[in-house]
Amino acid sequence: MRKSLFVLVAFLAIAGSAFSQDFVVSNGGEPSTLDPALMQDTVSNTFYLALFEGLVQYDPRTSKGIPAMAQSWETSADGLTVTFHLRDAKWSDGTPVTAQDFVYGWLRTLKPETASAYAYMIGMVVKGADAYNAGKGKAEDVGIKAVDSKTFQVQLLGPAPYFVDMTAHSAFAPAPKWAIEKYGDQWTKPSNIVVNGAYILKEWKAQDYILVTKNDKYWDAKNVKLRTIKYLASDNLSTNYKMFKAGAVDWMANGIDLNMIDEILLRKDYQSSAQFATYYLNLNNQRAPFNDVRVRRAFAAAIDKKTLVEKVLKGGQIPTDEFSPPMAGYTPQLGQGYDPATAKKLLAEAGYPDGKGFPTLTYVYNTSTGHKVIAEYVQQQLKTNLNVDIVLQNMEFKTLIELRNKHDFTIARDGWVGDYLDPNTMLELFITDSGNNSGDHRNPAFDKLMEDARMAKGDARMKMLEQAEKILLKDDQAIIPLYHYVNQDMIDTSKWGGWFANPIGYHPPKFIYKK
């Protein structure tokens, strides 16, 4: 009797695990924050996709916006007013989600005291938002309004065709005013947090893992399949990959182990697809020696990107001299390409013939084998082609973001993933004083073009953006683009459904299920 009971229990346990909808994600790092208004990196953003939901949600296949908190929306004839109709959704504490929550959330992102790196994203499109964010305008003058508790209206600066897609982004999140006012900056702690997404935050072990479980109060809860998701914080891609191979991790979300690329390429559970994103080197435009455009250009000309991508990275990335990836109607403008002779000449013109007298600079990057290999490659390229020495320094991702935000670096690695499919999301980084303008690029002509592009439509708009990129790269060489990313994920799609390779590389977990 006892034995048969044991067998039964064992059988149930095995059956349970075989059918259980538990998902383990290797997230590649510790999130710097869970507060949507402050999120800035892809590691943190993974949690936005699980815990929160904006007016629209990213379509798992195309990355375009699909109805989420907003059931439907309409745009006025002049394209300047968008009215969203919210559905009957609830926060995880049972309070209904209202248009006021969106007003509060957006204003919170914009509020100068919040210091959100993404505030400019609202500022770019919404009337009065930029002025309020810069401390020059009032909150009442921002063009957003709760017509009633279920109707949310936005006044745009120009007919931005990408606006609705944009609202899937964390900067446009609704926010639970009562929780934030009660707990202050502690509101994202597991015991305090109130969310409106498909999952609720259950457990947060710093530097170890974050566990989320299905939110029963979520409006679409019946279609949410995964019961729990565990996000592991380890940034050791080699360990993560071993865990993936052993079956302890179901999805490697933020990067693969570059050392193992030869083996990984042969695996069927390796997913790669072109991504709307660029890996680049940030140069501090305001700090010597990079305040001289000739030095910036010399550096750009000294790095052989093609060899880097084909012989070192080998993941199918696309070497590039442009920043915004090409897309329909938009021709990217190229900066300085690889050309060692020009590089030497430019550096000599800037006053450092054959690298003589050039200071030793520090290159900062976040700890990861992939970034390290690239850093060492760049270091050697600069030594060979310019006879310039640089020192490498690795740090935690959080620290790197801090340094970049404070412009406290000379060369820093960086990567940017478009937040929606439009060149605007790439180029807007480099507007003077934009929150993500780490290299501190300042050029009024560039700012002017970006502002004009907001008001323009169609072809004329794209032309302006092209012009802006030309200033950014050809004239200023504010940064050194290295390559366009490819999404590199490890997930067995014959086992997990609802996960699709898409150009932005955001994968809302509500669609993922075990087959």
Partner: protein, 358 residues
């Protein structure tokens, strides 16, 4: 077994030749075979490390990307590259035949690479290179990397040991000889320094003194120097206390020798054995400490490397390219192993209390 006695030997007709401490120790050390071998091995390591910059073929920073991840071999690199590419081609072709079309461009690229490698096999001098320890992921020679790694690691060991000896002896001797409140003060300071976790100090120092264009190795040295002298100060202090009331010190004092003279001329030479033994045993531990920091990614930074950082990098790829781990690991283990033997031998030779004394 009788020996013919040619001349009677007694205590009166012998010439007494004074035997210095060093000659005595050297005599004993020479009899210890293991220690002698260790001395040779350590000496060889030191010689290679010191003279490395004289050999231009030892180039730790040039990257020959085409030669990435080549295994250790005595054959020229060009041949190995072709072999490796062909093996890879076969593997990929197998997958493509199974229907993984995504690998087709990769296959074509490899075909082109094979062609190029074959064309250049005899024309490009770089293909004649021989990598007896293999190469790393950016096509750098592992032999040169491990030798230059040895330089850094041994330098760390030396810096730690030298500060330990100078600062430790000074503080220990003063504290032990003068005693009283000064002894109390110094030893409590040592206690406090002991209490601070060494790794944490170095990590904090690294974060605090981040300076543009400065390699972190300087800070590493400072960090190691800061904590290296603690133990030896304690040991020397204990020795001095036990000796300071002995007769020869009394004699020196009664003849009016100054405190400095008593400490440096009379007391310290009597503790030198302990100091040397401690030093030779602590050198490996400094190297281990640095390796650990480098393993965590906060030690030296590229293009310099130490044994620790090489092992750390190698560990990431040990399944595919085991030589990247084994080369530095074996080199380091051998060195530490013999260094410890040498330390043991020195202790036996110098320590009058040692039971292993021969």
């Amino acid at each position: 077994m009788s020996r013919k006695i040619e001349k009677a030997v007694n205590e009166f007709n012998q010439q007494m030749k004074p035997v210095s401490l060093w000659a005595d120790a050297w005599k004993r050390l020479r009899r210890n075979k293991m220690a002698l071998i260790s001395l040779w091995v350590v000496g060889f390591y030191a010689l290679v490390a010191v003279t490395a910059p004289l050999f231009s073929f030892l180039d730790y920073r040039t990257q020959v990307i085409e030669h990435a991840n080549l295994p250790p071999s005595l054959r020229p690199a060009g041949e190995l590259v072709i072999e490796k590419l062909e093996a890879r081609h076969a593997l990929i072709k197998e997958r493509v035949d199974e229907g993984m079309d995504s690998l087709k461009p990769e296959m074509e690229r490899i075909e082109a690479d094979i062609q190029k490698a074959k064309d250049e096999l005899d024309t490009n001098p770089v293909n004649k290179k021989v990598y007896i320890f293999g190469t790393d992921s950016l096509g750098r020679d592992m032999l040169s990397k491990t030798i230059y790694g040895a330089r850094i690691s041994m330098m760390v060991g030396l810096v730690g040991t030298l500060t330990a000896v100078f600062v430790g002896i000074l503080i220990g001797a003063i504290s032990g000889y003068i005693g009283g409140w000064l002894d109390n003060l110094l030893m409590r300071f040592v206690d406090i320094m002991y209490g601070l976790p060494y790794m944490l100090i170095v990590i904090i120092l690294m974060a605090m003194f981040r300076k543009e264009g400065q390699s972190s190795i300087v800070i590493l040295f400072v960090g190691i120097a800061l904590v290296s002298w603690l133990t030896i100060a304690r040991v020397v202090r204990g020795q001095i206390i036990s000796l300071k009331n002995s007769e020869f010190v009394e004699a020196a004092r009664s003849m009016g020798a100054s405190t400095g003279r008593i400490i440096f001329r009379h007391l310290l030479p009597n503790t030198i054995g302990v100091i040397i033994v401690f030093t030779s045993l602590s050198l490996p531990s400094f190297i281990m400490n640095e390796s650990f920091l480098s393993f965590l990614g906060i030690g030296v930074s590229a293009p310099l490397s130490s044994w620790g950082s090489l092992v750390s990098e190698g560990a990431n790829t040990m399944e595919l390219y085991p030589w990247q781990l084994l080369a530095p690991a074996i080199e380091m283990t051998v060195f530490l192993f013999f260094m410890n033997f040498l330390g043991d031998g020195l202790r036996d030779a110098l320590d009058p209390q040692s039971k292993n004394r021969t």
